[in-house]
Amino acid sequence: MDKIICLGKNYIDHTKEMKEAQPEKPVLFIKPPSCFLEIKDNAKIVLPWNRGNIHHECEVVLKLYKKNVIGLGLGLDLTLRDLQKKLKEAGHPWEIAKSFKNSALVTPIKGTRDFQKDWQLTPFILKINGEIRQESSLSQAIMKADEIIHYIDQYFPIHDGDLVFTGTPAGVGPLKPNDFVEMEYGPIKHSFTFVEKFDGF
């Protein structure tokens, strides 16, 4: 994997909940591979809790080969929300709010053929402690898969193996230690727990 390309403001309901203006096109940003962690069932995942509110953003993840979608996952684009807000207000880049260790969590990737129906119509769900927090499908997004790839291609060199986080719907919110997370997207079903910081993080 060369990089993780992320779309922001690709779901109108999320932009509205953030009380921000909807741009003409979704915004693009990048997370380095060092932020990536593949989610394993029953995993315990540490986050930098001492750096302010960390928000979950659940997103369909595309794996690319020759600029085609050859795999799908469900991801969490984790964001230091308070820090991001300060940086945006100051007109500064906000990488440090988006690119920290374990800030790009992704379920194991499944092939497109593993989905029984059109994967862009298939709903994805994020539950925290048994409660549904986010639920949507890529068909509800402003830009769908083919358009996303064409859009990214105008700005970044796409490498085989690159992952694309396709944007988050409404329902983002803060996480805390001991939150139990369940992620579902068609044949993809995984769960894990966030834990308190420990020495060595």
Partner: protein, 58 residues
Amino acid sequence: MDSKKLSHDILNSIERLRIMHDLIKAQNFSAIPKDELVKDLDDELKKLREDFAKLLNQ
């Protein structure tokens, strides 16, 4: 070509071969047709051999 670049290219080839392996194992030719994937596989293995040969002769 320096060894750092060669190493980088070799690891990129291995990543692409892994993707091809996953597609072939799943018999998933919906995005990339089978004959195109087979050609990609031949080209990538050829490039991998050449790059390893260069790295060995550094």
